[in-house]
Amino acid sequence: MDNILEIRGLSKTFRAGFWLRKVRALRDVSLTVRENEIYGFLGPNGAGKTTTIKTILGLIFPDSGKITIMGKDYRDISTRRYIGYAPEQPYFYEYLTAYEFMKFYGSLFSIPSSELKRRIPMLLDMVGLGGKESLQLRKFSKGMLQRIGLAQALINDPKFLILDEPMSGLDPIGRREIRDLILALKKSGKTVFFSTHILSDVEMICDKVAIIIEGEIRKEASLSELLSIDYNEVEVVFKGGNKSIKDDLKKIGLLMKDIDDTCYMLVSKSDISKTVDVIRLGGGDILSIIPKRRTLEDIFIKEINC
């Protein structure tokens, strides 16, 4: 698999306020997006997600660092032919109808009219806006604007999609539809890089995740790696045993529940053997020992508090 996007040592400083004080927006950001991946770019508000995306797209010039898109320098305008971008907030030309809007973006890629005639209704259908071709964008709701933003990002049939907070402003059904759409795009061979601060979106669909906090990448790993490496507790479930078992176990770990003679307890990885011995000696039956995986939320909160 080839790398679609490679960022190395990206830094950016802005000047803000009356005294033009320096604010570091990005510090030595490095990340790699591989072909056909769904890459979640996770961070709280103001962490530098949009700044990174804008830099990739040439909307902001970095102070230092290197960005390569499909092996070419990001400033090479030919790379943009293969990119589809949907911005965070759906600000578009509101006096245009949905069809005119899509046609305009298609013409920026010099796509022939005959091809646009075929592609536009298909894309509008895909994002759930079928039949809204002649409606002006100023009459669109926020969710509809979010959807047409996604449709315009697909007008050039891009290999690489960059979506800035694609699920914001959508209701639960809309969020699910967009998640399904992203998965369908991956299935059709596309690479998707999307930013979000909503953890469930990432957990559900991403192959790889980067966590950015205060302009720094704190973690970059595949979702499975990220969720499996960071656990050090197990949940032990057992049944029966004499009365002293529970008192002995309370000294080792945390007894969480005791329902109908079935006990659930949480012990650290290093205490597994000791716990198993206490249960066996006390005449109890072990039903299961399950590693207690941390959720993405646990990891995220830990990184924020670091």
Binding site: F14, K54, L57, G58, L59, I60, F61, I77, S78, R80, R81, I83, Y85, P87, Q89, Y91, F92, Y93, Y95, L96, E100, F104, Y105, S107, L108, F109, S110, G149, Q152
Partner: protein, 256 residues
Amino acid sequence: MRLLSIALNTFKESIRNKILIGVLLFSVLIIISTMALVQLTIGQWMKITVDIGMGAISLFGNLMAVFLGINLVAKEIDRKTVYTIVSKPIKRYEFIISKYIGLLITIFINVALMFVILLIILKYYISYEVPYIGTIQAFYLLLLEFMIISAIAIFFSTFSTPIMSAAFSITFWFIGHLLSDLKFWSMKSESEGFKLLINTVYYLLPDLELLNLKSNIVYQITVDMKYILWVSCYALMYSVLLIAASIVVFEKRDFK
């Protein structure tokens, strides 16, 4: 193709702007109202019609150049629509040039409509034998003025807020029309420093009075084609320089 798309989109955006339609209707009404005004005057009908008509065209064209011009780029940045354009395979200079072309198309079509109405009133209502060459010359030079003012407005809007850009552009328009007088009076001054200052300003800023031939319609005067060619080059040079400066600023701008 891409440039044309952005230019046409700019035109579409402008003509669907309700304020623009309102101002256009108002200006057309002013021109049509000359038909009533001439009924209240003795003689000088043609002069009144030409003065008011050409004045309305000039005012409307310049207002459009300033207010559409300052909004074209600043609004795209402010409303973040520029993000989805600049992230496509479009060079930043292409964006500025096509916006400028779109603005000129909008202004030219609107003022041409007003000009045709004025000609119809002059010919069929006042029954004036319109001196076509002189009239077209005066109208053409007005278009050159709009070309410069649009470029000034776009230049300021690449780095300033819409309100500041409007203030700067209107100031330039005023100064541009006063430059000839300023130069004339500075020559009578005894202060060498003042003369130098006014001379410098004169050669730095466009002298818009060079483009004012409105009275030639009334007096049935035509100017030499060499003059037309010279002022065309003069207006083109200023416009190209201003658009080039806009591009330099826009190329380096971060869209935060």
